[in-house]
């Protein structure tokens, strides 16, 4: 026990250090290069106005968002994998992202530019729109897959189907937008941290801060549920109820993250896998490590995107998919 405990601390510290390094490198990258010395100047209050604006109003919120939603998506994926006892579950693969995406596209299409779209209120409303879509998708997938219980295979196949269906609807609405909105929606749907201002941080922060500790608190239920429904019931857990609560949290996290981060697929798959490899399957150990790894991976992917193309915005979701898909394929081959 002590041994795993120390390992968790060790892995967490290493990951945190890596996050700090990537964070510092990321601060310098972008259309305007800002050297570390200049960053330091801004921190101490003596930097140029331009540098301060770029750092504080554009780069910092974007990186904070990357960290938050990286952690959120990782935890969401971890819950989905544990609850469905399916190592290949991920909010993107299961179609939850697509549901949230459709809902946000509709929201932009009908409300933005209208009364709601004028101010900060619309930013705070967006996670709710995404959430609505995410829950609709989850409900649909669950209903389709339900037939005297839900088998992992049916769940994942239904997810792929629902994903394709929502994708078709998204295209229909996208094509009704004007070219500018169309481009915006396209980039957003590929997974892009588009809300690069503090209000977006405010919009997503409460969800992450409330839901992740709740999941951590539920760790022991997750441990028991992984042994199988009967074993869990034998340990005095109301399995079906806990499963619904946990699924609710997973979907809520995914929805909130999609609303500011777009459709990022595979992150929710890789982070928990890596975490389990590093610290083992106990949820108390691997959930926090997944969250840290998710944050690191997303921030790193964002950094790579900025490095590859300083001028064009590369949707971070593309970078994540390029890293995540081969890993997914590896899991498929190995399984």
């Amino acid at each position: 026990m002590l041994h795993t405990g120390r390992k968790v601390v060790f892995v967490s510290v290493i990951t945190a250090i890596a996050i700090a390094i990537v964070f510092i490198i990321s601060l310098n990258l972008g259309t305007i290069r800002i050297s570390p010395a200049e960053v330091l100047q801004v921190i101490t209050g003596s930097g140029s106005d331009q540098n301060r604006t770029v750092l504080i109003h554009f780069r910092l919120p974007r990186m904070v968002i990357a960290l938050l939603i990286g952690a959120g998506i990782a935890i969401s994926g971890a819950i989905l994998q544990s609850v469905s006892r399916n190592p290949l579950a991920d909010p993107g693969i299961l179609g939850i992202n697509a549901g949230a995406g459709l809902s946000v596209v509709l929201y932009i299409f009908y409300f933005q530019g209208g009364a709601l779209g004028s101010g900060w209120l619309s930013i705070y409303m967006m996670p709710f729109a995404a959430l609505l879509g995410a829950f609709a998708a989850a409900l649909l997938i669950y209903t389709v897959a339900w037939k005297d219980g839900v088998t992992p295979v049916r769940l994942i196949l239904s997810g792929i189907g629902v994903n394709a269906g929502f994708g078709a609807f998204i295209i229909v609405f996208q094509l009704m937008m004007d070219p500018n909105d169309f481009m915006k929606a396209t980039i957003w749907l590929s997974g892009s941290i588009w809300g690069t201002s503090w209000p977006y941080v405010g919009a997503v922060l409460p969800w992450i801060v409330l839901l992740i500790p709740w999941v951590l608190y539920k760790s022991r239920y997750l441990n028991a549920m992984q042994l199988g429904d009967q074993a869990a019931a034998g340990l005095g857990i109301r399995v079906e109820r806990e499963r619904r609560v946990l699924l609710f949290i997973a979907v809520a996290l995914a929805g909130a993250c999609v609303s500011v981060g777009g459709g990022i697929t595979f992150l929710g798959l890789i982070a928990p896998h890596l975490a389990r490899k590093l610290v083992g399957p106990r949820h108390q150990s691997y959930l926090p490590v997944s969250a840290l790894l998710g944050a690191l991976l997303l921030l790193g992917a964002d950094m790579i995107g900025k490095m590859l193309m300083a001028n064009a915005e590369v949707p971070v979701g593309l970078v994540v998919a390029c890293l995540g898909a081969p890993y997914f394929i590896y899991l498929l081959i190995k399984d």
Partner: protein, 346 residues
């Protein structure tokens, strides 16, 4: 496990119904002709039946209506029929050869592969002709499907339906994210999305000239191997036991699939679910014999896509809805139904 499954498969199979199939073919062809005529008639500029007929019989180059008929509507309707037929037949051959009910071009990474090589073409060879681009799409389609099959060949327990679907999504995600990145970097995103969502709206005669011979060869070849596909669909063991040279059949079948999907995807872009839905419906009607399934699928697939293309024009006129979205709306519920049914056995 496999033997058990194939036994079940064989036990479940109904008799083949040649008479029903002939009726299906005749009816399907009649409907296809009617649908094609409707497709030529219907469009954003109103052209009446007589003008259409005149445009066909006594073409007058100075008439705008005749020009629209000739240059836009006829190639479009023909392309829809050819592409629909190709997708349906390649889906039927895939399902028969792999005995996998979910096998179909749309979930095999075919479109993403085609888009990937096309993006490379647009990015690095800006001067490339549309023929070169079409060839690239063609080979890209093969690349996508090849990768998915490779994953299947590498994995220990073979390509189960679920694994096929997952491998397809993974390959699609990988290839399409690389091509999106390239497209953004080299500023060719517009060309790609135009092709991707284009359907058959922008088809010209030059496309038909390329499409037609490939599709004809593919269809003839598919009918030639149809008997062997039927034997394969009973299971590998049975096929070998009956003296089938499975490797040759598999090679020919793969060639058919590559020819037909490559041609279809390179002209029509992303049109999903035709290859999934049609063979299932046809198999349900005419029975398990692929000598009947393949020609009937060709007709039914052509019919479905011509109708879907008409619907795509009617949803939101004068704008075009991507025909892929229309086929997805038909196909997704069907896929979900299969997922629900198959989930038990996989």
């Amino acid at each position: 496990m496999q033997a058990q499954q194939s036994h079940k498969h064989a036990g479940k199979q109904a008799k083949s119904r040649p008479k029903t199939a002939v009726a299906f073919l005749v009816l399907g062809l009649v409907l296809l002709v009617i649908a094609t005529a409707l497709s030529i008639l219907y469009g954003s500029s109103n052209i009446n039946l007589r003008t259409v007929w005149e445009g066909l019989t006594q073409f007058d180059p100075s008439s705008t209506a005749h020009q629209i008929i000739h240059r836009l509507r006829i190639p479009r309707a023909l392309a829809a029929a050819l592409i629909g037929a190709s997708l349906a037949v390649s889906g039927a051959v895939m399902q028969g050869m792999t005995r996998n009910p979910l096998a179909s071009p749309s979930i095999m990474g075919v479109t993403a592969g085609a888009a990937f090589l096309m993006t490379l073409g647009y990015a690095f060879m800006p001067a490339a002709s549309s023929l070169v681009i079409m060839l690239l799409a063609f080979f890209g389609a093969g690349l996508g499907a090849g990768l998915v099959f490779m994953i299947g060949a590498l994995s220990k327990r073979g390509l189960t339906p679920v694994k096929l679907a997952l491998a397809g999504s993974a390959v699609t995600a990988l290839l399409s994210s690389v091509s999106s990145g390239l497209a953004l970097r080299f500023n060719v995103a517009k060309d790609i999305s135009f092709w991707y969502a284009g359907g058959v709206a922008g088809v010209q005669w030059v496309h038909i000239q390329l499409l037609l011979p490939v599709v004809v060869i593919g269809l003839v070849l598919s009918i030639a191997v149809s008997k062997s596909v039927t034997v394969m669909s009973l299971g590998e063991d049975i096929a070998t036991g009956l003296g089938q040279r499975t490797n040759i059949v598999r090679l020919l079948g793969t060639l058919v699939v590559l020819l037909l999907t490559g041609a279809a995807v390179s002209v029509g872009g992303s049109i999903g679910f035709v290859g999934l839905v049609i063979p299932h419906i046809v198999r349900f009607i005419v029975g398990p014999d692929y000598r009947l399934i393949i020609p009937c699928s060709a007709v039914a697939g052509g019919l479905l896509l011509v109708l879907a293309d008409i619907a795509a024009r009617m949803v939101n006129p004068p704008f075009e809805t991507p025909v892929g979205a229309v086929t997805a709306i038909i196909g997704v519920p069907f896929f979900l139904y299969l997922a629900r049914r198959e989930g038990r056995e996989l």
